[in-house]
Symmetry: D2
Subunit: 408 residues, 4 copies
């Protein structure tokens, strides 16, 4: 705590909810610091951020920043990540991870604008988000102080927190008095749920945990067919209609939600060293990943595609662990973006009760050549005799090895 005693002004990532309101007050009372709040619309669902403004005002925030960053979020964070087909541990689409660097970036920028010497966030000391917030902040301003009240304050229990809230006239919504049955994070890319009712990985998640998708079982009995156009690896139009990045993701979310798409129940490995279980809902992202793989399948050369596949786990790990603003992520992004220059064309998908089925892809940049692959007469496009030499030279080292091994 002593390191915090000189803090004069803090920019707080402020949701308007109970926990960050307690933090706001705690920063003022315990640290004696002025607080600037930053509330972002990342597409988490409550697009009306006025209540957050009012609450921040009421609690004496020195300055209040409220911003709609959805377009920046999707354009500069979500889409670059999807160019990599990033899935952490083979499955997770990194919905929470990818939002943190943007928030930190704005916190640090606002700190510069307002002359604040510290930033603060509401993530606990057990999770990955503290790491993501803080690595991003330090990478953007090496001298910034980062305050993580959940690690620093002396509250021992929820009761302590509520007592502090009451003492400082922080309004407590009725349903917040008891413990929430699980913890939630949300943005335009996904919703996540974890903790409490989800803590036993043998128990199936209760249906009420899901925030953003209907169950496949409740989805329509008909297929919904859509087409997505891509340019340079990013989706640019849905069913022929051009959409901005955020509008595209929102539209895909609606389609995914309606068709029960994008649920994931996962036990994952946190950067801080333990396993945790989460339920993720990424309706639009799940569609986008399938579509992107689909358009890549005809426009990306094998060498590029396989290199991407080999680099992907590393890329996903970097994003998960909070190293978005690291030189190695920038290097990988440069490689990936290089590969996407001709990833353009159209993918047709069928959405049906949890299934995302790629049923067609076409592109003026297609590398698929029917004249090569056809079972019919290929008019000399491919000489089958070439295969013999190809195989014999690929086999040469194996034959040499077999002869050696037979000798011994």
């Amino acid at each position: 705590m002593s390191k915090l005693k000189d803090v004069k002004k803090v920019v707080l990532a402020y949701s308007g909810g109970l926990d960050t309101s307690i933090i706001l007050k705690w920063l003022q009372t315990e640290l004696g610091a002025e607080v600037v709040t930053f509330t972002a619309d990342l597409g988490q669902g409550d697009s009306d951020l006025e209540p957050a403004r009012k609450k921040a005002e009421m609690m004496g925030a020195k300055q209040i920043y409220i911003e709609d960053v959805r377009e920046e979020f999707v354009r500069d964070f979500v889409f670059p990540m999807f160019r990599a087909n990033a899935q952490y541990e083979g499955l997770y689409l990194l919905g929470t991870s990818i939002a943190r660097p943007l928030i930190s970036k704005r916190l640090v920028e606002i700190a510069r604008e307002t002359g604040a010497d510290a930033v603060a966030h509401g993530a606990t000391g057990k999770g990955n988000d503290q790491v993501r917030f803080e690595l991003s902040a330090y990478a953007l301003n090496p001298d910034i102080k980062v305050i993580a009240p959940w690690r620093d304050w002396s509250f021992k229990s929820r009761t302590d927190l509520l007592d502090f809230a009451e003492k400082h006239q922080i309004p407590i919504a009725k349903d917040k008095r008891g413990d929430a049955p699980f913890s939630v994070d949300a943005n335009l890319l996904h919703s996540s749920s974890e903790g409490k009712v989800l803590e036993d990985p043998w128990m199936a998640p209760p249906e009420f945990v899901h925030q953003r998708t209907i169950s496949p079982m409740d989805a329509p009995d008909q297929v919904t067919e859509i087409e997505i156009d891509f340019s340079k690896g990013d989706p640019i139009a849905l069913n022929g209609k051009a959409l901005s990045p955020a509008a595209m993701l929102a539209a895909l979310n609606d389609l995914g939600c309606d068709n029960g798409i994008g649920r994931l129940d996962l036990v994952e490995n946190r950067f801080v060293g333990m396993k945790s279980r989460g339920v993720y809902e990424t309706p639009g992202g799940t569609i986008l990943l399938a579509a992107h793989r689909g358009i890549e399948s005809i426009t990306l050369d094998r060498g590029a595609a396989h290199l991407k596949d080999e680099l992907m786990p590393r890329y996903a790990e970097l994003v998960y662990n909070g190293f978005w603003f690291s030189p190695e992520r920038h290097m990988l992004q440069a490689a990936i973006d290089k590969s996407q220059e001709d990833v353009e064309g159209t993918v047709r998908l069928q959405l049906y009760k949890g299934n995302v089925i790629v049923s067609g892809r076409k592109s003026s940049k297609s590398l698929y050549r029917n004249d090569l692959v056809t079972f019919e007469d290929d008019r000399g496009a491919y000489d089958q005799k070439d295969a013999e030499g190809f195989i014999r030279l690929n086999a040469l080292r194996l034959r040499t090895l077999a002869a050696r091994n037979r000798k011994s």
Copy 2:
């Protein structure tokens, strides 16, 4: 062809169908070679192999080998591959690729037993299978001759082939007279379809292409819940009942088929250099992959899991390209098998209209520790203060970099 003129005895991978019957006769008549046939039950569906025997006898095969290799196939090829979570180009479960090495292994062994100096297969000069057959054969016997009649003979068209068949009294099933609308491969792991009606990747596959699964739309409206037990990374029991490897895969296939699971429509990159489009059906394998990832999620350490994820694309590429019997595949397998020693326990899955949903996993070897991750009082299992040092040292290089960059 001159290289073939001295061939005296050939072991032919013989299905009993029209094409390999023509090859059998061609080897006899054009090369003047004795032919030994090898027909394997890999679970391709026609478990009655007696017709193949009769046909081979009728056509004058010198010796006839007919074998049920399903247990070996699943135990020594399919399961080791699934330990790696292998998916080629992110999606394909390698059903065709994994069967070829086993066939070549038996061809080479039979050649040794029968004193044959060559083996022959019925794969064309455009595909991957020729490579897989031949690399495997050469890796197991560096002096074996490999005959690929599709590359060597002078037939120019299907008509030529049929003329040859008629001339040599090879029976031609009525439905074989015209061209098949697509080409098929099948074994206990999967069925694949490609060519003809599938050649335009923008056209959705017609429903009749599918061999092995019903459509998700035709699947039951109820969830089927199953439990799979694992030991050392392999499935050993289904719903509490111990099953042999082949019986396990067959049972999973039935479950997958009934629930519309395991279809994949893919444009992939062949080793011989062109893109091709295939429709794959891997009902049991799709369930097995999800289940295996599920049991790994609680029993595999993060370091092992991430290393596996990074090695996987390479492993899958090796299998796809036909390098099963290569030192590098053996090296990767050693690493992977090392990781699977404690991958045991039970996974619960929900099968529903194309969806495979992991809904629970438990293990006496679980590394999931609720005392660490809980939002509740963890009684000191985890000290949140540790996170600060963890983050600060992870950030140190990024801060150094930021300070350097600010200077300049």
Copy 3:
């Protein structure tokens, strides 16, 4: 050969030596093709290329291109490769490999300018160079025909070749009549020797094999100290004097040669499947690699450095195998170049009898911070207490694993 019968005009990579002169004549007489010659000064040593021009004229070349491409070679091929610290199989600096793509690029460009439909090279059918020439040519012009006379002609022996030469009045230098005791390739980056007297890998290379360096034993007894300045990962000045890329490499070659630096006796794995033994001399390149690693050591962040190290073997393999003009090499180059933006500063080296010793490095972009690392009072730059949390969270998964394993 039939594929060659329609060739009308060929651009030949022409050295002026006996072998490519025979090829020139063979292309004219056997193929009835017009021949355009391309002779490049890549720094191979005979900077006077007029004899090659005269000989080509005399032999009836239709057009003659003679070019000094040394600057392009070093700037666009050698330096980008050294940014990657590329060493094939841990040791080889790829001196031959890196020159082939440039030659092919010019061949293809000249073919376009002169309306030629084919290019030809003098590499044999056993080596890597044929692959490098041809992959590069095909990657730059998919329709170009590539003629490799060594694979195509019917000469069976050196005598046949010499008979053909005599028959067509091709001058034969006296020392070319007998077999050379080994085969040589050279350019500004290196000289290589292979074959004949080098074929037994147990026999040490005779001293006379070396073309370009004196023996460490013959080098001066004094240290030569030099300083190299870098910018964006490339060397730009030697001992304070700015030098063009080719002049820089030439100067480093002189320094290396004089100090017995850069010899390598290696058994390597060729792309075409066999092992071969080569003696390489890369005097300037050996100095450059050490210097580049030196400047990177203080200017490159750990994350970038380690990613580069992991990507390097793949990059080197691509260059060695001839995939310079492939999407995956371009992707890797994009990642590598991204990392080099701040690789600038000065390295001091000691050259002494085969040794290249980095003895100092400094940079205005240095990331080395003595305030962090010092054993003295660091005035709070680093809090040793942070290490405990860092270690404890890194250990957490290992402790969890140990506890699990102890149980069982």
Copy 4:
């Protein structure tokens, strides 16, 4: 510190020197703990460990373990690492890193034997060694307490330490009164020097820093030629004489030392986040690496060799960072060891003034085939015509790409 207050018995890694003697006393006086000392002969040079025993007795150590672990060190740690050709950041042979896991292993074992609840080491809070000690300890006993006095005590300066030593009658060697001009670590594999006079990476290391090698300039003017025999990747005989692992490394050290071999002046990236500069001397290891690469060059298949090269940086990073006892290091070791089964034969080396020159390699398991590679008549071992098909199919995707790109 509160976490330490219950410690009853500590096993201390004890060198007998001043610093660990102060730690011994501090553990007794400040923590009130019984201390068990463990002093290992790792080949650091002072093979007489009796003074350490006497000193420990005098200072009241409860139990004293003194052990010669040189054979175990080389056999189970150094040699397995050299099978991987491990070099951290391309250059460093990991001499310090590889000793720490063994010391921790014995500390934890002795703790078990003596009923101690903690182990302690003398590494500071800025370096990598603390991480290596502690990760190893935790991986072997998840409940062990680890004490790192340098991070925990309240001494602020060297004067404080000396005052404490005097107060407790700890003998202080005269030359320890002043600050050492640099800090040293040594074992049978290497000596390292860092700090103080080495802190400026632009200043060349003074000659007196070197502990273990003479300068190349002082080495003999004649070549020393040696032969090393390998079996399963490990050296087993020198000049025909079988040697135990430790005897082998000692003999190579003598040879390296005498010929000025194995010096390295490096700026490296520590795991804890800063760059540091070290001078390393690894005379025997430098010879061993060259020899091992030499024997691998003729006995290892290309696929295995290249996979090893790609895995090496990761392996080296794991060793450097202290993850010797991690699942991922075990996985990589399994892969590496798999590759070494036939790495046997003899390598001849020339040692000369800092140079290690491989001048010959032979093996009954050699994969080098002169019949394939020869420029002479190969009697059909290799068909040059195969190369055409090999190249054409490798080029196919590049040609497809070029045709696509030309269109657009």
